[in-house]
Assembly symmetry: C2
Homo-oligomer: 354 residues x 2
């Protein structure tokens, strides 16, 4: 990236940046009409700010929820605002004491080629430890989500039988591998034979293909004593199947509900929730942001597991830059990714002269 | 009851007893075809057994679940078996070392006028402390359920805002009053103005009539900061309304689901369960039987609250004896009761001569 060498001062002039903004709130799947994709001039960073050239964008299932105008754990993205997204990039100009030009950083920069930020929530990443996409996956929010969801919310213990849905996704694949690292028997649910084969190749004890298997029947076969911790990313029939095969005192961790995010009305709830009574089980939701002051702990442990091969990080990196975001997001809900879905933001626009 | 004076020995001859047995598993509401109501001869108790003349039968929402041939927290009632029911009665013959003729006892005697039992799960009750129906309500299983559900499962704390559905029922009315005793603000949901008026008369801070109010709107008015503990006996729309107005870190206690017990197919689940994520809340099921070794603790505390007037016990006692059971059970699901629904088993059949 030429920017890192050419943009050495905070007074670098305006650049243009491709950006994706929210044009209108989608009903169902977010089609092209949802977005305004355009070019803007990027202001030079002011005092206490830095300018980041984004290299990789994170695509997250939760993004769909951020488009709805409802009260949730974060405010919705406003009409006309740059779409919220986690990203990795390089500092190309800085008037912030904690960041220098050339630093690789991660933060919620949005679907944009360049972002000006005050540094809030921005952290430096060490590309010597793992490549940029992994900092959006196993060492990023999905890794944090897997770690705290499993350990703090699920209170997982060695010897537990752990069920993970969306197991071949960014969070699920890390959650399952952490559970294995902690001495659990791990069953994953994923879509298609390739994903399932990958899961068993990275250590899952069993993988259930929801597209071809009877999930509940298979689950009873592979986890005959029931599931102690069910880490659910999917909702719908998958959640119900897991609820029907819990062990006494099981913990169901509600991490996500990807199967329903694009429904045009509130999808049905888990019909088998009364299993919580039968099995004296609990179902608990969480939001990873609450664990921010312990991210360092999680990063350190996951980095250790990555280093010794206990956890394998995998990302599906799509080309096409910011302009490819609308299609990439739909791909996420179609399950095109194995592991973390990342959009590479190559070919940043050149520095505007002047 | 003449039995207590005439039946002083274990060798008392056979008596006849009216009984209700399960003839066929109901679909939907259990109609008359569900039951065989008839007369049997009651054997004399064998060594280690006692004979109880039932005076009061407990009608419990959970009974409907016991009629389904599915795996649950207790085995279903078998076809041809006496319908399972908690009861209070008098020992009329005993060859058991722990029970004497004349003792008033409670146990799962079934829908029968007389029961022979080996004493398992049978406990003596003190009618000086409270009348027999209360031993099936506030001092019986409903009271235990309210106590452990609130304290152990709901982890209720002074200052919490507590929401109770089915609040005018046996469990709900005690749960709400215990919460008040512990320093909580308590909101009840019940059906009809009479029940709601009763709730506020016994100390509930607010009562919502689900038959005429918009439950969620009213709930937001009376609990603007959200609900910390939601003790749900009802399921359905009521559960969803509560889920939509939780506080951060709320505990939802799944005690029952009376609104769906007579559905002919598995009713919809809580559509708003993703509120658990938004509010970082948990939903936990429990079965009171698990707390059996602590019933004495609960009985003592509840008896203390009854004695000083902090908790008011109320029962709706229906006449008609064992034969009235099928209709009384339907009345339970129609909400005829305020407080605990009890069936009085008067006019026991006389001792058969010989």
């Amino acid at each position: 990236m030429t920017e890192t060498s050419t943009s050495t001062s905070a007074t670098t002039g305006p650049r243009t940046s491709r950006q994706v903004r929210l044009r209108e709130r989608p009903v169902g799947y977010p089609g092209p009409e949802t977005w305004d994709v355009g070019t803007v001039e990027v202001p030079a960073p002011g005092q206490g700010e830095l300018l980041v050239a984004v290299s990789h964008l994170s695509l997250d299932p939760a993004m769909r929820g951020w488009l709805n105008d409802v009260r949730s754990y974060v405010p919705p993205v406003g009409i006309g605002e740059v779409m919220r997204a986690g990203a990795v990039g390089t500092v190309v100009a800085s008037r912030h004491p904690d960041f220098a030009v050339g630093d690789t950083v991660t933060g919620t920069f949005g679907v944009t080629e360049y972002a000006v930020t005050d540094g809030e929530g921005v952290v430096r990443v060490d590309l010597g430890l793992a490549p940029a996409p992994t900092w959006l996956g196993a060492l990023g929010m999905p890794g944090m989500t897997a770690y705290f969801g499993l350990l703090d919310v699920g209170r997982v213990r060695s010897g537990d039988t752990v069920l993970v849905s969306g197991a071949a996704g960014a969070v699920g694949s890390v959650a399952g591998q952490i559970a294995k690292a902690l001495g659990c028997t791990v069953v994953g649910i994923a879509g298609g034979p390739e994903k399932c084969a990958w899961l068993t190749s990275i250590g899952f004890d069993a993988a259930i293909d929801y597209k071809s298997d009877n999930v509940l029947r298979r689950l009873r076969e592979v986890a005959p004593d029931g599931v102690d911790v069910f880490f659910d990313n999917v909702s719908g029939d998958t959640l119900d199947a897991g609820l029907a095969n819990l062990s006494r005192g099981a913990r169901v961790v509600i991490c996500g509900a990807i199967s329903g995010y694009n429904e045009t009305s509130l999808p049905p709830g888990p019909r088998r929730y009364m299993s919580l009574l039968v099995f004296r089980a609990s179902m608990t939701g969480f939001v990873v942001f609450d664990y921010e002051d312990r991210y360092a702990e999680a990063r350190e442990r996951i980095a250790g597991w990555l280093a010794d091969g206990t956890v394998v990080a995998r990302e599906t990196v799509l080309p096409g830059g910011v302009d490819a975001f609308p299609e990439a997001l739909l791909g996420l809900y179609a399950g095109v990714n194995t592991g973390k879905l990342v959009l590479e933001v190559g070919g940043q626009s050149p520095v505007v002269s002047g």
